[in-house]
């Protein structure tokens, strides 16, 4: 579907170029200039079986178009097995420098003696991205990012894109630039947004694919207005490429235990997200607003 559209719409790129304007991502993908393109993206694959099961289900049904994997997490082998049997699934890497839950932790993948500034004194990854921003040396972060990408490749995962767990890699220009550099070397598109990373010390090149907006539910969304938040977001989408970042899971004993004492992005939160993207109202809003769902793999073609 996307492929044939892309082919039939090639002339649009030319018309834009001829008019003297920079082609938009939509045009480069073969869509009209003012299209509303949306990636519906589930973060955190690998961190819990419950999250994997909900995310696989949403990928299979098309409720989401993309997801990203936390390579250092316990369930990553389950995701690798899914990736093997679902080669069309759009799976990137959710580069991970933090381990935020209270009773359930993971370590990074680079040899720990080569990345000492990534770890707390007790040998665990920090639970907050601000600690990464303050303490992590960029050259050590680079080692860890490469280790995570290389582990994915070793497990047979072919990532479609990179992004950053808890935004740790967006927290300083130095960390962002390491992330962008590694992504370019592996010829992978990476999450960056025009508002925020496109200026100043954040090194963005003309070849990079930069999104126009990211929508993500934060702690300020009233828990009883969950669906309204997402419907508003869809109804107010602007032309351009937006990523809607969600967090899926089934609100079960495992996920409740993993996220204990941690309501934001916790078990009930992920169940609510799952229910929204599977709801008829959400799907209708996408249709009513003529939203074109795309994947990171589509964007990846632009950086080859």
């Amino acid at each position: 579907m996307l492929k044939s559209l892309a082919l039939s719409a090639v002339p649009l790129i030319f018309s834009s170029v001829l008019s003297g304007q920079q082609p938009t991502i939509a045009e480069r993908l073969g869509y009209p200039r003012d299209s509303k393109l949306l990636i519906i993206h589930a973060d955190d694959l690998g961190f819990a079986h419950s999250a994997d099961a909900a995310s696989f289900d949403a990928l299979n049904s098309g409720a989401i178009t993309s997801a990203s994997i936390m390579m250092p997490t316990p369930w990553v082998t389950e995701v690798a097995a899914y990736a093997k049997t679902h080669p069309q699934a759009d799976l990137g890497l959710h580069l991970t420098l933090t381990s935020e839950w209270e009773t359930y932790r993971w370590d990074g993948l680079a040899p720990t003696d080569q990345v000492p500034t990534l770890y707390d004194p007790d040998g665990t990854l920090p639970n907050d991205e601000s600690i990464v921003a303050k303490r992590a040396k960029p050259e050590e972060v680079e080692r860890e990012l490469r280790a995570q990408i290389d582990r994915a490749l070793a497990l047979g995962i072919k990532p479609t894109h990179l992004d950053s767990h808890m935004g740790a890699l967006f927290s300083t220009p130095a960390l962002f630039n390491v992330y962008a550099k590694v992504a370019r070397e592996y010829h992978l598109p990476f999450l960056a947004v025009r508002q925020g990373f496109g200026a100043g010390d954040f090194n963005i090149t003309p070849k990079d694919v930069v999104l126009d907006a990211v929508v993500i539910a934060g702690g300020d969304v009233p828990r009883d207005k969950w669906k309204e938040f997402y419907l508003n977001a869809i109804n107010n989408l602007k032309p351009g490429v937006t990523e809607l970042i969600i967090h899926l899971g089934h609100d079960d004993a495992e996920l409740q235990a993993v996220t204990v004492n941690h309501e934001p992005y916790g078990s009930a939160w992920r169940q609510r997200d799952y229910e929204v993207v599977n709801s008829a109202e959400f799907k209708k809003a996408l249709q009513d607003n003529r939203v074109i769902l795309i994947k990171w793999r589509d964007l990846g073609r632009l950086v080859q």
Copy 2:
């Protein structure tokens, strides 16, 4: 209870020494020479929340006397929190060189570049102890064991003993001797059994506390004769120190997912073990056979 018994029985040690016999462990602990001492020991703490919950419950109720923790596992922080609030709980370290489940894995704790022979080519720990026996260099195993003990100490866990996940450290004399050496350095008693490790190239010293027997349900126990297996074991206990090694868990969605395609030591298996040690028949068998329940902490006093 144990303490007052130990004090009142001190003369028995002397009578044994005076008679020219080596004192048994029972006598060294202050019990009659022919006592049946039993450690009821749950393995694998940390590997799943379900296993932790079942094991904590059994420790709290006294259904088991001791347990051991897998330091590289995702839920180890949950166990560390339990250890902190339950300082009397008898918790050792289940030294871990394998990661045996199909879709749920952990890495070791030493910097991976210092212990390359511990890892599969894809960077994961092997799923079988025979691979450890064949491939792991003893000096690298020693590094990993020290890293696991040091992580425990850093997390505030004061281990009462050491043993070996999947028996990997019992698989060759060289690995066993590394394990025994490290245990002695940390002044910790370690699981070793008179039949098996007490001779030949396995380096046992007179100061080591060597158990007389270990009982563990294997794959050959009919699943519908589970309780009978354990009742028979208790009814046939010999004088001396025996460790009954069990594997606890609640047969729930998490544990079923962790142990998928892995019936032995799987989810239902651990639920059966949990039911047996909590059953009235099992407790009656312990009483009827005048079994004295002890902990590794008791044995630890003999190696200080």
